[in-house]
C-alpha cells in the first residue's frame, strides 16, 4: 500500500483556503479523505455530497464533482446519484446536527437499504455553523446557546450514539468510530476511511465512519483544551472502534423472557 502522502498536497483537495475556524478538525478529516481517494485511484469517478452545516462549502475544497444537499438529506441525494450511476463512488460528509437530528430518517434508511455509499459523519457534539446550539449528540451538562444551563437529560434525553444505532440493523454494513485528536488516532481513522471507501469500490456494502471532532469556537475553549475536553468527555461515551463489518453475524439474540 502506498502511503507516502505525508509531505505532499493530496490531489483530492483543491488549493482553496478553507473557512474553518482555527483549531477545528474538519481540515484534518478533509485531508484524510482526499488521501484515501488518491490512494484508491478513484478521484476521477467520485461524487461528494455535503449538506447544510459547517461543511456546506466542502465542494470548494474537494477536487471532485460535488452535490450540495439540503439539511439532513445527503444520504437520500447520495442514494439518487448511486442508483442513477452505480459506477460512481459516492460519499456524504455530514455533521451531527445534520445526520443525527434532521437527517435521522435518511441515514437509517440508506443504511438499511444497504446503499453502496460511504458516509463520513463528523460528530463535534454541537451545531457549529448556526452558532453553537444543542445537538442530539451534545453531552449531558454541556452548555450551548440553546442549553444555557447545560444539556438537561430529563428534558432533552441523552446523546444519540449513531454508530451503535446503525449497527443494530440486519443489513450488512461497515460501521466504525474514530477520532483525530492524536496523530496515531488520525492514522487509525484514515484506515477506517480507506476500508469504508474500499467497501464501496468493491460494491460490498453501506459504510459509515463517525469521527469525533472538536469545535473550539462554539465550545468556547482554546484548540488544545478542546482536544482534552473531547478525550475526557466524549470518548468515554462514544467509544472508538469497529462496530459492524459486513462479514460478521448480524443478529444478536434477545435474552429470554422470565417464565410466567
Amino acid at each position: 500500500m502506498k502511503d507516502n502522502n505525508a509531505f505532499n498536497y493530496p490531489q483530492g483537495l483543491t488549493d482553496a483556503t478553507t473557512h474553518y475556524c482555527p483549531g477545528c478538525t474538519h481540515g484534518i478529516i478533509h485531508r484524510l479523505i482526499a488521501e484515501v481517494l488518491d490512494e484508491l485511484g478513484v478521484k476521477e469517478r467520485t461524487v461528494g455530497v455535503s449538506p447544510v452545516g459547517c461543511a456546506v462549502l466542502a465542494y470548494n475544497y474537494f477536487s471532485t464533482d460535488f452535490q450540495e444537499a439540503s439539511h439532513g438529506r445527503a444520504p437520500a441525494v447520495a442514494t439518487g446519484i448511486k442508483r442513477a450511476r452505480p459506477d460512481l463512488m459516492v460519499y456524504t460528509y455530514q455533521g451531527d446536527g445534520d445526520l443525527a437530528s434532521i437527517g435521522m430518517a435518511e441515514i437509517v434508511h440508506a443504511a438499511n437499504r444497504g446503499e453502496k455509499i460511504t458516509v463520513v459523519f463528523v460528530n463535534n457534539a454541537i451545531y457549529g455553523m448556526t452558532g453553537g446550539q444543542m445537538a442530539p449528540t451534545t453531552m449531558p451538562g454541556q452548555v450551548t446557546t440553546t442549553s444555557p444551563r447545560g444539556r438537561e437529560t430529563a428534558l432533552a434525553g441523552f446523546p444519540i450514539r449513531m454508530v451503535e444505532l446503525i449497527s443494530t440493523l440486519h443489513t450488512p454494513a461497515f460501521v466504525a468510530r474514530g477520532t483525530v485528536v492524536r496523530p496515531a488516532q488520525a492514522i487509525q481513522t484514515k484506515q477506517l476511511l480507506r476500508e469504508a471507501f474500499l467497501n464501496q469500490k468493491e460494491g460490498r456494502c453501506f459504510s459509515m465512519v463517525e469521527i469525533l471532532s472538536t469545535c473550539p469556537t462554539n465550545w468556547g475553549m482554546p484548540p488544545a483544551e478542546a482536544l482534552t475536553w473531547l478525550e475526557k468527555n466524549m470518548m468515554p461515551y462514544y467509544p472508538l472502534g469497529v462496530f459492524k463489518t459486513p462479514d460478521e453475524g448480524i443478529d444478536r439474540a434477545p435474552a429470554p423472557l422470565c417464565a410466567l
Binding site: V77, T79, A84
Partner: protein, 362 residues
C-alpha cells in the same frame, strides 16, 4: 413493435409514458390515489433495465430525485397532494440548482389530510411556488389519459431543455379512469436537447469544469445574478411554452368558460349540448398552467364580455383569469370541493345562469 391503442388506467399510462421517454429511474412513496404509478414502475422498470426505489418518505424520494437528476439521468416521481407538500423543500432546491425533474401530482382534496377523491386545489402550490424562494415550475394539466401520456413525454424534454422541474398537475379522475392510449414509436423530442455537461458524472480535470450541483450563493451579488438568470429563463418559458385548447372561439359566443383538466371535459360536454340548443358558449382550456395562456383568455373573454371559471377548488385559477380579463367584465365562478365533481348538469346550470345574467344586464 408499434403499440396499438390500448385501454389503460391513467396512472399506468403515465408510468408507461415515462419509460417511453427513456426515464429509467423512479423514487416514490405510497399515497392514494396514485399508488398504481409506483406499483407499475416497480413492475416495469426491472424489465427495461431501470431502477425503482421505494423511499422512506416523500422528503427522501424528492431528494433522491435531486441526486439522480444531478448525476445526469432522467428521473421522475409521482405523489398526491400531502406528499407533494412534503417534496416542496427539494423542489425549491431543484429549481435553485437548475435540475431537470418531472413531478406528477394526482391531486386529492385538502387541506390537511383532506380526502382521497379528486380535486384541483393544488393550483396555487404548483403555479405560484410551493417551496421557498423566487422560482417557477412548468406546470402542465392533462384532461385525458392520452393527453397525460403525451404531456409526460414532453415534460422530460422540457425539463432537460430548461433545466427546470416540470409538474404534471392532474386530478384523481385522470389517475383513476381508463381510456384508450396510443404511444407513437417514432416520437421526436419536443425540444432540441444538449449533452448534460453540468452533471456530476466524475471529473478527470479535463473536458469540462468541475461539476457542482448547488444553490448556495453567500455573496448577495452572485445570488442576485443567479436570480436574474433564473428569471430570464422563466420569461423564456412564458414566451415559448404556452399551451391551451380552444373550443368554439372562432364562432359566435356570449360567454367564455375557462376550465382545465377533467373539469374542462365536463364543461365541454355541457357546452356541446347547449350549442346544439342554440346557446352561444365557448371554452378555453389552459394546458400549461404556468405559463398561463393570459393573452388568449383575455382576448376570448373580451369578445364575450363575460366569463365563467369552473374548478374543483374554492377558486384558484380564477385569480390568473382575472389578471387576464381585467376588471371591465363580469367574471363568475363555479367550484366544488371535498372530492365532489362538477357534473355536466351542474356546469349547464352555471352556464345558463351566466347567460341569463348577461341577458338581464342588457
Amino acid at each position: 413493435m408499434s403499440m396499438a391503442r390500448k385501454l389503460m388506467k391513467g396512472c399506468e399510462a403515465i408510468g408507461e409514458a415515462a419509460i417511453r421517454a427513456n426515464c429509467k429511474l423512479f423514487f416514490g412513496y405510497p399515497i392514494t390515489p396514485q399508488n398504481e404509478i409506483p406499483e407499475y414502475m416497480s413492475r416495469r422498470l426491472p424489465q427495461v433495465g431501470g431502477t425503482f426505489v421505494q423511499a422512506e418518505s416523500e422528503v427522501a424520494a424528492s431528494n433522491m430525485l435531486y441526486g439522480a437528476s444531478g448525476a445526469g439521468e432522467r428521473v421522475f416521481t409521482s405523489s398526491s397532494s400531502p406528499g407533494i407538500s412534503l417534496m416542496q423543500e427539494a423542489v425549491s432546491y431543484m429549481a435553485g440548482s437548475e435540475l431537470p425533474v418531472v413531478l406528477v401530482n394526482i391531486m386529492r382534496a385538502g387541506p390537511g389530510l383532506g380526502g382521497i377523491l379528486p380535486s384541483q386545489a393544488d393550483y396555487f402550490q404548483a403555479t405560484k411556488g410551493g417551496g421557498h424562494g423566487d422560482y417557477r415550475l412548468l406546470v402542465l394539466a392533462p384532461s385525458s389519459i392520452q393527453e397525460a401520456a403525451d404531456l409526460i413525454q414532453d415534460a422530460f424534454d422540457l425539463a432537460d431543455y430548461y433545466r427546470n422541474p416540470v409538474v404534471i398537475l392532474a386530478d384523481g379522475l385522470i389517475g383513476q379512469m381508463m381510456e384508450p392510449v396510443e404511444f407513437k414509436e417514432d416520437r421526436k423530442p419536443c425540444k432540441p436537447l444538449q449533452p448534460k455537461d453540468w452533471a456530476t458524472t466524475g471529473w478527470n480535470g479535463q473536458g469540462r469544469p468541475r461539476a457542482v450541483v448547488n444553490s448556495l450563493f453567500l455573496d448577495p451579488t452572485l445570488l442576485e445574478h443567479h436570480n436574474e438568470k433564473l428569471t430570464a429563463k422563466y420569461a423564456d418559458m412564458a414566451k415559448n411554452e404556452v399551451r391551451y385548447a380552444e373550443y368554439f372561439t372562432d364562432e359566435d359566443y356570449e360567454l367564455l368558460v375557462v376550465a382545465y383538466g377533467s373539469v374542462a371535459r365536463v364543461c365541454l360536454s355541457a357546452i356541446r349540448q347547449l350549442r346544439a340548443e342554440g346557446r352561444k358558449v365557448a371554452l378555453v382550456r389552459p394546458i400549461s398552467l404556468f405559463p398561463f395562456p393570459t393573452d388568449v383568455i383575455g382576448a376570448a373573454a373580451r369578445k364575450a364580455g363575460r366569463a365563467l371559471v369552473v374548478e374543483l377548488s374554492t377558486g384558484q385559477m380564477i385569480e390568473d383569469v382575472r389578471l387576464a380579463v381585467g376588471r371591465e367584465f363580469p367574471l363568475a365562478f363555479h367550484g366544488r370541493t371535498g372530492g365532489n365533481l362538477v357534473t355536466p348538469d351542474e356546469a349547464r346550470e352555471a352556464i345558463l345562469a351566466q347567460l341569463a345574467a348577461k341577458e338581464a344586464s342588457r
